[in-house]
């Protein structure tokens, strides 16, 4: 009985470890992309924090990607796929700089 419990524990640990590594890879993929843009968070530690979440949501907002609606850690795989997609270079160019639209009016 003790042996069975021990085995289950190992399996659980393994699953947890794999899951963490997988998630870390995708968060790193997002953070590395962010680091090349105007939305650089300043760190690429593979951990999902408030800065990463705000930055990636701002980036998607600027380039007009509407799905996922509000990006959370669980969306890291999907977001990473978008960032590594075929139009990666065009996407990167479009977020090199933050652009502030002008609304000065016709008669300033």
């Amino acid at each position: 009985m003790i042996k069975v419990r021990f085995t289950l524990l190992i399996i659980g640990t393994l699953i947890f470890s794999v899951s963490t590594a997988f998630s870390e890879t995708n968060i790193l993929c997002i953070q590395k992309f962010l680091s090349k843009t105007a939305f650089d968070t300043g760190s690429t530690d593979g951990r999902w924090g408030e800065k990463t979440e705000t930055a990636i949501n701002d980036l998607f907002d600027q380039v007009g990607i509407s799905e996922p609606k509000t990006i959370k850690a669980k969306d890291a795989i999907e977001v990473c796929k978008i960032l590594q997609g075929s139009n990666n270079k065009a996407l990167l160019e479009s977020v090199n700089f933050k652009v502030y639209p002008v609304s000065i009016g016709k008669n300033p």
């Binding site: 105007a38 090199n96 700089f97 933050k98 652009v99 502030y100 639209p101 002008v102 000065i104 300033p108």
Partner: protein
Amino acid sequence: MDGLLAVPPIGDDNLLKQRKALVASKALKINPLFALHPNFKTFSKMLANEEASIIHATSFPYTGRSHFEGQNVLQGGLLNPFSSKTGWLGRAMGIAKITGKAMSLQAPLIIKGATDYDNFYPEHLRNARLPSAEVLKLIQDTHEGSIARAIDKLRRSSKSMRGRRGSARDPLSLASEAGRSLREVDGPKVAVITIPQFDDHAEIGSDTGHHPELFTLIDNAFDNLRNNLQEQWANTIVLTMTEFGRTVKENGSAGTDHGYGSVGLLAGGLIKRSSVIANWPGLSTGELYEKRDLYATIDYRSVCAACIEAAFGLDHDVIAEAVFQDKNIPRAYTHIFG
């Protein structure tokens, strides 16, 4: 140029904490973050007409505070000062086989490297007369090769300068002359004008004063260029450059000292959508370069590269490698001309 006086980031709460007096009282609001000094009257209308843009918190990659080194990096376009005998614009003109004109007595470094350029800087010698085109043609016919080509160029310049005896050397007259030359079918395609004396260590001014007067001068230069370029304005991009910005805080003499990040003003018909382009670094002391200067978060070489791409039609990768000798320069084209 003091970029924070020219385009104050009024939406940054730290602006007035850092600068007590050097902010224009009636700056023209552009968007929630940025405003424009009111002396840029023409430029503000260009912004409204979707034919101008602003790049803020930008600089050439030079963090020292020497005018000589900074101006050399600005013109040479390489990372180290005095490392090139040609300029980035000249190298680009050479690749694109484009002609140019320096509105100065000596051709500045920036245009060197081009294969075909000359100068315009009017002299007023007493009793001097321009040689007639016929005389020059006779001299040309007695020579051959490069000397004949040089005399031919002189003959064509002499022809184009006739009837412009009133030309003066001040930047506004030179801007008008540049506009006239650029619009000629067989005229130059590039012109460079220098506006000096932005080094206001004392009494820089806010609403009025020396720096605001220089803003008016820049504004009028834009106006003169546009008026004299006429229909060619639609195919033109004009960009300002400065070797570095000024300190964020004013000094004890109501001026500012040598800094890092500044601002670039762009105008011309090649721009289709006005915008302020910046990765705003912030103005709290901890966010400043060496706790005193606006951080430059945009490499101004990427802006120059975008202008070359738009005006000369060269590929960004060619510009990055052959002109600036740095393949990592980001492509800013889509932001400015997209």
